[in-house]
Symmetry: C2
Subunit: 405 residues, 2 copies
């Protein structure tokens, strides 16, 4: 391990130096106590910035705008709302996203080209621009505003998802912060509606792009809640360089430490998203090892964690492990039945393809705990991957059968 990496207690997106954030209730979401729905994240120094965007062919207006904006490789701020996705909203949607950037730029005192936009919520409805206009004026930025921003991004999330890590490597010390929101329409790639990452490290743009992709691949791209991909997905990283380090570029000790820290932070956030999936009562962690290739390990792990039948069985504490085999077999990955080992928690259910006798009560106990680790060894190669998801509950259906009514 290169350097020292430490999670910061109460860490968030404004933990790195020079980042400010604020949020308000603009009235876009239905009012409940403590609800926020509009926020701004801002760096006092210009950032090297890059993002990954949804692979959905229907791209929300803020995605189109932010993609254009990031062609410069720089950004200063992002304005975000929940309650309305500004997706499938045509020319009006694009104009509204641009106006949102302008309004936020005016509030902060920067140029609109430096402001990215992100939205999340109902698809196919125009943004309520009067509310957005009035709301943006109310946003007050603060160096400790990260936690408010996290709340403003929530839709069906029950808890905000945020953390930060401090990294010390050689003479350099820097911090990476992050915030993400779930919690439905979540599937690789990217299995996050929105994730904003901040760092005060100085980072070379090429390495930053590489590091973000790599971190996404071990974290958000390994999470599935429901198999649906949102048109609004955006995973952004902004590096303002205020740590004063020499810009980190590929192949250095600093780069290794940065990557490790970013991976850990993103995995932490991805697990938060999985655990808080719509209606979820537990986290499922599926590790596939002994796969012929990394791609197959990833595919198999994601297939198991995405299977509605596996998810429903785990929800009910039903020891129906055959569904795990059906899911991995159905994934298209090479498997040989007589080589497969399966563990759930510490209980070995299948060894070399043979179902073993096991303590059903003990298995039910593991299935009923808040984290269910599933280990599947294919014993065909050396590749390993881990994916995260959640159980499928009646509540998932209830939430999604009356989302806008």
């Amino acid at each position: 391990m290169e350097g020292e990496i430490e999670f910061i207690a109460s860490g968030n997106v404004t933990s790195p130096r020079g980042f400010h954030a604020g949020a308000t209730y603009a009235g876009i979401k239905r009012k409940a106590s403590d609800v926020l729905d509009l926020g701004i994240l801002f760096s006092e120094a210009s950032c090297v910035a890059t993002a990954l965007f949804t692979t959905n062919r229907i791209k929300a207006a803020p995605v189109v705008l932010s993609q254009q904006c990031l062609q410069s490789g720089r950004a200063l701020a992002v304005v975000v709302n929940s309650g309305c996705a500004n997706a499938f909203t045509g020319e009006q949607g694009l104009a509204d996203a641009a106006e949102m950037a302008e309004l936020a730029a005016k509030n902060i005192g920067v140029s609109p080209e430096d402001v990215l936009v992100a939205s999340t919520g109902v698809i196919g409805q125009q943004l309520p621009m009067e509310l957005i206009k009035a709301g943006i004026k109310q946003v007050v930025l603060a160096v400790d505003g990260g936690r408010k921003l996290a709340r403003a991004m929530m839709t069906t999330d029950t808890v905000p998802k945020q953390t930060a890590v401090a990294v010390r490597v050689g003479d350099s010390e820097f911090t990476i912060g992050g915030v993400a929101k779930g919690s439905g329409m979540i599937h690789p790639n990217l299995a996050t509606l929105l994730c904003f990452l901040t760092t005060d490290a100085a980072v070379d743009i090429d390495f930053l792009k590489f590091a973000l992709l790599k971190a996404a691949d071990v974290s958000f791209n390994m999470v599935s809640i429901d198999g649906d991909t949102s048109p609004n997905d955006m995973m952004l990283i902004m590096a303002n360089g205020l740590a004063g380090n020499k810009p980190i570029s590929q192949g250095s000790r600093q780069a290794d430490a940065f990557q490790q820290a970013l991976d850990q932070l993103c995995i932490y956030l991805a697990k938060c998203v999985a655990r808080d999936g719509e209606g979820a009562t537990k986290l499922i962690e599926v590790t596939v090892s002994g796969a012929p290739s990394a791609a197959e390990a990833r595919l198999a792990a994601r297939a198991v964690v995405s299977s509605p039948l596996v998810k429903a069985a785990i929800h009910g504490g039903d020891p129906n492990w055959g569904r795990i085999m059906a899911a991995v077999g159905g994934s298209g990955v090479e498997v040989v039945e007589s080589k497969i080992d399966l563990h759930i928690g510490n209980i070995c259910l299948v060894k070399a393809g043979c179902p073993l006798f096991f303590d059903k009560k003990e298995l039910v106990r593991v299935l009923r705990s808040s984290e269910v680790p599933i280990n599947l060894r294919l014993n065909l190669g050396t590749a390993t991957a881990t994916a995260w998801g959640c159980d499928l509950s009646e509540k998932y259906v209830t939430i999604n059968s009356r989302y806008i009514t």
Copy 2:
């Protein structure tokens, strides 16, 4: 249209001449009133036969055995049980499947090589062979036994799925019968656990293979209940030639009529499977037109009908049509937002990418009816496809969270 095709009232798998069936309660499934769990389908004349099998890499023992058996292109009978899938059961499972074929062959008085085997139920448990042995002895075959067989194949199905069509073309008259079972772990390909088709037509084996593939492609391969593919899928067709027609081969008027009849029969059964999906309260029919290619039309239609978020919204009568756009965009199919038209029932929701004002009450009424037709025009080409599925209800979760406990 070549010839006349007519659905037969109370038609089933023994409607074609020379097919006999019978079933019993062997004790494999939990006892409820009227439960059957073991059956035999038999033709008094040797059949040209072919089948499509699961694409799951984990293949149930009866699938392995039946695949071998069908290499001859002929069969006389199939023995089927519900309650136990005999999947992921290793060498013992293969031996048990072979013994099942032998026992059935003995009961009927034919050679075991002419008997196919099919199983459905829980994965990862060995067949209770004592019950199977005793049960097979009890099965009495009858020329009107098709309806009993249909009941013996049911797992979580709430109704048996069967029909038959009478075809008249030129001088020939023949009948095709069919039975299918759902109703969970259903996803293309093939989106049916088990489907047996029978016909008294004489059919050339090459054309029979072609016709089965084609019928599967417009029917069971266009159904999704939950995105999971079973290790036991088998779609079998047996043609005994007792109609006395000249064997049907490709390119003839008879072939066209046979294909049309088979397609209609399979679509009927596929819709029965979709409508009776686990926990379903309604049938969803998604037609995608104006796609650049048939493959893309099929992919898009299946993506919409498979989306848990679309399914949950329809379950609740929630007019959240944006999810349909997210699902089609997420499918990877080429789409241009500004060209898409969307109708649900007769209500136009989107025209050339523009959301229209619509009568919300009227839409909720359509969403709450027992069949919800969704029409999506991509306006990029001329290809069309239709897929079927069902809504996602709390009951789906309830059923699947306590399947074996």
